[in-house]
Structure formats: structure tokens, C-alpha cells
Symmetry: C2
Subunit: 597 residues, 2 copies
């Protein structure tokens, strides 16, 4: 978002105001609209268009307005280079040989491919912000929040399966998409729709790896409030979080894979180097993330920072972010680092924090996650119209959609079959369908695609990735509720048995008379005891862990023992409001709150 | 901070990582160091170097390291423009006729004036971020927090005096500094140190207006924890917050003041136009800020958003930020808008919020304020070495220091004299000395100065402003404790009478044996009842207001009545942890907490 500003700040005239304010204001406006819509939807339990889909829709409409309503002030951007300003002797000279002014080399290159003729609309340029903002500012809080609020018990119970899906599954998905796309590309070249030189097999693999990132943002956002089975949720969540990390490292490895001779031929040495890179980067990022968390844990243990909750929160926040930044700076993958940093922070540091800091960190990351998530989805909507170098190739897009689904199927079903051979608690068929269906593509695929749009193939990939995201979020995301119903994961058990969750809190409002009749009185009280149908509330897992570990930890930490003893009650108090809007829904449904903590 | 990134992202080689990560990491590192130092200082009640001064010091050291230790990879920045990348047909051509590569017109201009010969050190360029980030990202939370946590009762009791100091005082200060600087400039021209054309009288006035912004950041940070008299605090706080707003609008008005003929001659028409501009901008910004707060109040009143604390907090945050951005976009002053938005939000919207949102908003803005404040001060330290176009003119700097103090004196003493003629409760002589002494220059003066560094005079002003900030923060800021002691505002009353605050909590640790002997037992309990020596705790004022207004407001708000009734207790609970580290200090001093709420 900040990137936008320097375009304006170049102009001297309105030096004192307006620098980037309009662009930020547009985002604010979109977010405010989104929040009001979310509230409206939540209030009416309307779930066919999800909030992320809504944010994207608003972004789309705003993009449309910016593109076709605002005028293109070509002349305005020309005034930057008035001759009188050169009196002090320029060190470089910018000679404009078209009607466009571009500050950057890579922008200049791209502009040539502009297929829509909307050159020079500065508003469009301003609304297109730097991909590094995605990576350095918007993604870390989302991924950290995912790690920090991971339901650890369920996660480790399903660790083997999650790792299999994440590593093996993503590799399968990448190769399958790569192969299918290569087939499509060959066919397109054959019918003359594409020039041969544009697409190598490595490009297809690159596309395959970036399209293999199923999005935790969307998956989480949708499942978080659908009260699905905890094991399914953890499986899906763990897979999508880890698989992002894998996809990112994979994309990186492929992008630096450089066979010496023919780029289409298989080069064993380069391949193994890529595999080595992949493993090295993954392990390094993991180590980097965990180390920062360990440092935070030690700092919070041995200093009495807990007397100053804000300093503690600040330190926690900065060290966690540093994990991400250090990894990026060291050539590793920040997303992986910050993910494992989050997991480790929740496991260790969290127990050292003061009660106040526990609340603060939870709320802070919840809030940042919420904002970042919605900014990304708004921006995705915007990008369809404001990004100026789209290359729409219907055949390629169709191919990508086919490839994405085939790849997802050849990832989930065979792996589930294999895993079920070894698992005591089998992954049922319905779960597999649900995992297949919920392989949404979201922020990460988009961010990976937008990171490199220098060449025509990359631009085509970006456009295609964006449309695949739209399709999966709107169609699959919107249809999740229907799918869950159809697969009988959600409503059937409470309908046919006394088990919770009560239908009154899961069915839409207009069904409430029916729901009230069909729900057993026991369901209201039972829901939280039954391990199989536990509500998905991110934050109380942390509390659980805290409470169980507090008794063990006290003897070791003399200095903080008194704080811990007194703070246990505080946490229960604090948690009343902490589950966020999730908890509030339940409260309105009339259940006793204290059974949670 | 984000601005830094595009320098790196231009390079294709390390496209996949590192984009801006190192620069952000440096800031993170500085902030972590600062936090640890603050903790150390607080722990030992060491107050001779204040945290803002500390942050600045670390920034300075880091700037020194970046400047003299990192090498200058001139060649590196040249690789951006490889010819092979131009294959797709460039629309513009950048011809480099020196050894430097600059993306921007204004950078190109500046580079000519580079006096230190450190051209082409890309690390230095990267660490210099866009001034608009100050204005759009870092300042709003600080100013909003100031408005949101204003002690309203004391503020309105002293409103007349505050307005007089803010409006009349700032105008006096601006003119006095302008005149003195004009005298210095004339003298410098006379002895041949300066060329005539460089400085007009309007430039001097411009400098006067930007140097008239006494900083609420520093003043607040220092006085907030020094337990000074509430009236003095409110007077100082109100003055410094409002006077910033006035100084910003004044600077803006002067910068667009353009007499038709001789720039040194007085042009009545242009002058009155400037005065008109000033009043219009101020009133407009006030209206803009209040309107957004009113919209937020109505939204939170009529929707049941309080069921979803995070959405509510999000809406609150976004609408408040929008107040700032809208004002900037409309050509008004965002700082003024966001200040009055904060005041109005605290007065109205706060009462509509759920207990959870009350906590969340307070903590969120407290945290953002803390981070933004320290980033700014770190950056100020950095800027001394990383900004590449400093013009150090000893005579000008000396003149500025003299002017700043003379101007402060001719603002405070005459106005206090006049005000005392009308005030029932006089402003004592010691207060006046303290106000005189605490006229620190900080973030706003710096931000105003860095906003425009295109010409040599502006660069000289920037360098001078930076040094004046250093001087006032370190010397005046560091000496505040000594000054308060010397002026007998702080320790004498508790020493000689039974009144609080107890000396054990105000004196440094090593004095504690003496302090314990000299403190009356009554002081521990009395301190919070005595209106004259009330502790300065920002947040409890809000609670107070809430509680007094709740009884009146309930009948009008049927829908939220039940929530309000139940939430009153919650707030008291919540507030226990909310005063942040301030409250914790008192807790360790062993006073009963509940007497606060």
C-alpha cells in the first residue's frame, strides 16, 4: 500500500497533502464496506457468499470503477520532468520516447505488453502496489496467527498425515499441474495460439508449484466458523498451512533451477541441486523460526518483562516479525520461519507471558490477521482491473482449472488410501471429498504469481492464477456449506442423535423454528464434552495448554510463580471476550460460557 | 519503511527474497534494543536519558555503522539497466551521465548537493524512507492516541488557556523565530556565508512555523510517567497537541503564500489569503475529524456490532484512520482531523462500544502509539547519518537554537501573564518555567522538515531542525526530572506534607531507604483522592466518563442497556491490566488497585 505513494510524491505541486492518501482511503473504504457486510451476513447467518469472497467482490467493483470512470491524466505525469527543475544539473536523463512515464526498468518492460490500451492512467498505477508488501507486511501476521493458534493436540495427533499431504501431496500436485499445462501449451503451440519459445517445461512446473498452494486464509476463514469436526479441520488446516510453505519453497527452488543446456531436457545434476536447495531452505527456515521463538521464550523467562505488558507484547511482536525478516534476508523462506515461530511461541513463550500480555498478543494477532486477510482479498479483486498487463488466454485458463482439480484429486485420494493403510482412525471417504473440494487457491498463489510479472509467460500465469483464485473462492468457497451438508458432516449427527452442536446455532436463521424442534436439549450442554464435535475456537486451545502446563512450570520459575497463580483466574475472565465474534454467536445462542475455559 | 523496498525489487536476480527485509530487520533490531533498554531503565528508575532519547541514540549509532562500515556497491545499482532486458522495447530510456543511478527527479536534483561524497551507497538510500510514511502511517496513531486518551475534564477546565497558548502562542513563536532567523541570514549574507537569493523572509517564516511545533510525543512520554500535577500536565499536553496542529496548518499556509511581486515585501492580499487559508483549513479539518467520529458513533449505536468485538474494533480503527486520510485527500490537515476525531470518539463512540472493544481499542492504540513513537525516534537518529544531503551551517544552527528559546520565552511568559489576569486558578511561576523548559521539538518538526528537502535552503533547514530536535530531546528531555525537582513541583509537597504521591514510588531506587523514612503512611492511600496530585493515568479517565454517562445514556439506548449494565463490572476488571506499565509500577509499590476505577 505504501508503495503507491511515491508516484504522487514526485510531483512538487501538491507536496503538502494527498500523498497516497486517496489510495489508502480507497482500501479503507473497501474494508469498512467489507466489515459491515460481514456483520450483516453473520447477523443473518448467510453463508453462500463468504466474507473473503465478499471482500474480493467489492475490490472487483472498485477496480471496475477506477478503470472505467476515472480519467487518464497523461499530461499530469508529464509535468514531473519540467526543465527548470534541472537547473542543478541532472545526474541522469530520462528520455521519454512514448507517451508514457515509468520510473522503473521493470515497469517499462511490462508496459510494452499492455494489451488493453489503458496506458498512462496514473490512478491504475497507484492502485497496483509492490508485491513485496504482500510478503513482508501482509502475509506474516496471517501465517503467524495460524501457527500461534494451532490446535496443537489435534495437530500432533495427525502429524504424519499432515506431513504426507503437505510434502508428498504438494510435490504430486506440482508435477501433475506442470505436466497437464505442458500438454496444453504444446497443444496451443500446435494450433498456433502460442509461440514455442514462450513456455519451457520449467515454466509449467513453476506454474504448477505456485498453483499447488492451497490457501490457509480461505480454508481457515470458512471452516473456522462452520463448526466442522476438529480432526477434519486440523487435517485440512495443517495441510494447507504447511503446503503453502512447501509450495513457496518449491517455487523458489524451481525458479533457481537452471539446467545447463536445453531447458526442456532433464538435467539430473540441476534437479538434485534443486532438491537439495529445497531441503536446505526448508530446514534452515524451520531452524530460524524456532530459534527466534526460543530467544523470546528465554527473554520473557529471565527478565521480569511481565511487569510491563506492553513492552512484553512489543518484544514478542518484533521478535516474531524478525524471524520472518531474518529468514528472508538470509535467502530462506520467511513464511516457513514465521509459521514455526508461531507454533513454538504458542508452545513455550506463551507460558511465560503475563496474563495481560496473553490477551494482548492474542487480540493483536487476531486483529492484524483479520485486517491483512481482508486487504489481500480486496486487493485481489482490484487487481483484475487495475493490473495493466493481463494476458487472458481462455485455453490456458481452462487448462489450469482442469489441471488444478485433477492435481488435487491425484493428491488427496491416493495419499488418503495409503495413509488409511497405516492409520488407526481412518480418514473417511466424506473427509476426502471435503479435502478435495476445499482445495481453494488464495492469497499465497496470488502473491507468488504477482511477484514476477516481467515476461509474457509470467503475466499469463498471473492472470490465470488470479482467475483460478476467483473461481475456487467463489464457487468452492461459496459451496462449502452446501458440500458439508451434502456430505453429511455437519447437520446429520445433531439431527439424528442427541449430540451437539445444536442445530439452532448452525443452521441459517430462517430455519430456526425447525432447528429448535429437531435439536435435543442435551445437545446444548453436550457439545463441548464430546471430543468428536468440539467447537473450533482457536484461542481456548492456548488457554488449555497454559493451564495444564502451569502446574508443571511453577516450581521451575520461582520468580513468576506468584504471577502465574493469580493470573489463572484473569485468563478465564479475559477469555470471555477473547474468542472474538465466534464466541459471541454462541453466547447469543444461550449457552453457559464458563464451560469453555 | 515500505518505501525502501522498491530499490531492491528492481533487481531481478534476488527476486525471491530479501526485498526490503534487511532494512525492516534493522528497524526491528533497533526497536528490540530500545524495548530492552526501556525495561532496564524502568526497572532501575533511571530517568536521565529518556526512552525516546535512547531510541534516537540507537538510531544514531546504527546510522554511523551503516554509513562507515557498509561498503558502497556502486556497480550493483548499475546492473539494473542491463541491455538484454530491453529486448521487449523500452518506452523510456534512462541515460546515466554520472556514476549515480537515481529513480526520481527530486532525488536527482538533490544528489548534486551531496556534500559528503557518499554517493551511491545503496544501503544509505534504502534506509531513507518516504516522508509520506511519517504522515500517513506513523503519525496518525500517535495523534489519535493523544486525542483518545485526553483527560477531558482537565482539558475543558483549561480550554481557554490551552487555546491561547496553541493559537496565539504558536503564531508568536513562528514570527519570532522567523524574524530572528531572518536577522541571522542577513548577517550571514553580510559576512559572505550565504548567497542572498537562497533565503527569503517567507523561508524564514516557514522555518519558524515548523520549529514552533512542540512535540506531544516527547512531552507526553516524559510527563506521562513523572506523576506531575494534572493541571500542568493537561496544560502542557493540550498546548503541545493543539500547537502541532496549528504549526502544521501554519506551515502549509505559509508554503502556499505567494506574494505576486517581491518575495521579501509584504503583500497584504496574499497575507490575508493565507490567514483565510489557515482558518479554513483548520475549521475544515476539525469538521472532517468530528464527522467521522459521529458516523462511527451512530454506526456503533444502531447496529449490533458490539456482538462482534473484532469487527467493531476494526470499524473503529478504519473510520478513525479514514478521518485522517480524507482530510489529507481533501487538501485539509489530517493531524488536526485525527486529533479531534480521537477526542470525539472518546466522548461519544467509546460509550457505545462493548466492554471487549473498549479494551481492544485502548490496547491497540496504545500499542500502535508505542511502536510508531519509537520508530520515529530511531529514524531521527538514523537520519543524521543516512540522509545524504545534509547542509551543516554552524551559524544557522546556533541561530536556530537561540531563536527557538527566545520564541518559546516570548510565547509562554507574556501569554501566561495575560491569562493570569483572567484566570481564577493562576498559572504559577514554576509552571511557566516548566512549560518554557519542556518546549521540546520532536517528530512533527522533523516530519515537516523532511517533507520538503528539494532545495538547498530546505536541506539546511532540515539539518538544523534535526539537530535542534536532538538538542532539545537530550538536553531538555533528559533534564526534565532535574528541572521538576529544582522547581519543587514534584518532591517537595510529599516531602513536607502528608500528601501523595509517596516518595517511594517517585524517587529513584537508590533513594528508597531515605524515601521510605520521609513518606507519610497517609501518602500511600491519599494520593488518588487529592485532586492536585492525582497520578497521570491516561486510560482511567475514559472509564470515569463512561461510568458517569452510562446512567444517563441507558434510557435512550434500550437495545444496549443490558450490555451496559453487565459490562460495567467487566471494565473494572479489564482496567486492572490496562494502564500498561504505568499501573504496574504502582502495583509494585503496593497500593490498592481498585481505588482507581
Amino acid at each position: 500500500m505504501e508503495k503507491l505513494k511515491e508516484y504522487v510524491s514526485v510531483k512538487d505541486e501538491d507536496h503538502f497533502y494527498h500523498q497516497g492518501a486517496v489510495e489508502l482511503l480507497i482500501f479503507n473504504f473497501l474494508l469498512i464496506l467489507t466489515i459491515l457486510t460481514i456483520w450483516l451476513f453473520k447477523n443473518h447467518r448467510f453463508r453462500f457468499l463468504h466474507e473473503t469472497g465478499g471482500a474480493m467482490l467489492y475490490g472487483l467493483v472498485m477496480g471496475l470503477i477506477i478503470r472505467y470512470v476515472t480519467k487518464s491524466p497523461d499530461v499530469e505525469s508529464g509535468t514531473v520532468y519540467e526543465c527548470e527543475k534541472l537547473k542543478s544539473g541532472p545526474s541522469t536523463l530520462l528520455i521519454n520516447i512514448t507517451n508514457q512515464v515509468y520510473e522503473y526498468q521493470y515497469k517499462r518492460e511490462i508496459s510494452h505488453h499492455n494489451v488493453n490500451g489503458h496506458q498512462g492512467n496514473t490512478m491504475l498505477q497507484k492502485m497496483t502496489f509492490d508485491p513485496s508488501i504482500f510478503f513482508n507486511i501482509l502475509l506474516p501476521p496471517i501465517i503467524f496467527h495460524a501457527g500461534y493458534s494451532l490446535k496443537k493436540r489435534h495437530f500432533f495427533r495427525n502429524l504424519g498425515s499432515i506431513l504426507t499431504y503437505a510434502f508428498l501431496g504438494t510435490a504430486i500436485s506440482c508435477v501433475v499441474i506442470g505436466l497437464i499445462m505442458y500438454g496444453f501449451v504444446k497443444a496451443m503451440v500446435h494450433i498456433g495460439q502460442l509461440k514455442q519459445w514462450e513456455f519451457h517445461f520449467t515454466d509449467c512446473l513453476f506454474f504448477g508449484s505456485l498453483m499447488s498452494a492451497t490457501d490457509p486464509v480461505t480454508v481457515l476463514a470458512i471452516f473456522h466458523e462452520l463448526n466442522v469436526d476438529t480432526d477434519l479441520y486440523t487435517l485440512l488446516f495443517g495441510e494447507s498451512v504447511l503446503n503453502d510453505a512447501v509450495a513457496i519453497v518449491l517455487t523458489h527452488s524451481i525458479s533457481i533451477y537452471s539446467p545447463k543446456e536445453n531447458p526442456n531436457a532433464f538435467d539430473a545434476a540441476a534437479f538434485f541441486q534443486s532438491v537439495g536447495n529445497f531441503l536446505g531452505i526448508f530446514a534452515g527456515s524451520f531452524a530460524m523460526g524456532s530459534s527466534y521463538a526460543v530467544v523470546t521464550a528465554l527473554l520473557t523467562k529471565f527478565t521480569k518483562l511481565c511487569e510491563f505488558p506492553m513492552l512484553e507484547t512489543g518484544l514478542f511482536f518484533l521478535l516474531s516479525w524478525s524471524a520472518f525478516l531474518s529468514a528472508e534476508a538470509a535467502g530462506l523462506t520467511g513464511i516457513v520461519a514465521v509459521l514455526f515461530c508461531g507454533v513454538t511461541q504458542a508452545h513455550y513463550t506463551y507460558n511465560n507471558l503475563s496474563a495481560d500480555s496473553k490477551m494482548r498478543t492474542k487480540q493483536l494477532f487476531e486483529f492484524m490477521n483479520f485486517l491483512a486477510e481482508n486487504v489481500i482479498f480486496c486487493y485481489m479483486g482490484l487487481a483484475l482491473f487495475t493490473f495493466q498487463n493481463h494476458i487472458f488466454n481462455p485455453l490456458f485458463i481452462f487448462g489450469a482449472l482442469v489441471a488444478v482439480f485433477v492435481a488435487r484429486a491425484s493428491n488427496i485420494y491416493p495419499l488418503s488410501f495409503l495413509l488409511n493403510l497405516g492409520r488407526k482412525q481412518k480418514i473417511p471417504r466424506t473427509f476426502q471429498h471435503m479435502m478435495m473440494f476445499s482445495g481453494l487457491r488464495g492469497a499465497i498463489a496470488f502473491a507468488l504469481a504477482i511477484r514476477d510479472t516481467d515476461s509474457q509467460p509470467k503475466q499469463m500465469m498471473f492472470t490465470t492464477a488470479l482467475l483460478v483464485v476467483f473461481f475456487t473462492v467463489w464457487v468452492c468457497g461459496g459451496g462449502t456449506t452446501a458440500m458439508l451438508t451434502w456430505l453429511q458432516i455437519r447437520y446429520l449427527k445433531p439431527l439424528l442423535t442427541h449430540a451437539g452442536p445444536p442445530l439452532t446455532s448452525t443452521l441459517p436463521e430462517w430455519c430456526s423454528p425447525v432447528a429448535r424442534i429437531l435439536t435435543s436439549p442435551r445437545a446444548y450442554g453436550d457439545q463441548l464434552k464430546d471430543g468428536d464435535t468440539v467447537y473450533i475456537i482457536n484461542n481456548d486451545e492456548l488457554t488449555e495448554n497454559y493451564e495444564s502446563s502451569a502446574h508443571i512450570a511453577v516450581p521451575a520459575q520461582d520468580s513468576t510463580a506468584s504471577t502465574q497463580a493469580t493470573s489463572k483466574e484473569d485468563i478465564q475472565e479475559g477469555d470471555l471476550g477473547l474468542g472474538g465474534y465466534k464466541l459471541q454467536i454462541q453466547r447469543t445462542a444461550g449457552q453457559p460460557q464458563n464451560s469453555l475455559a
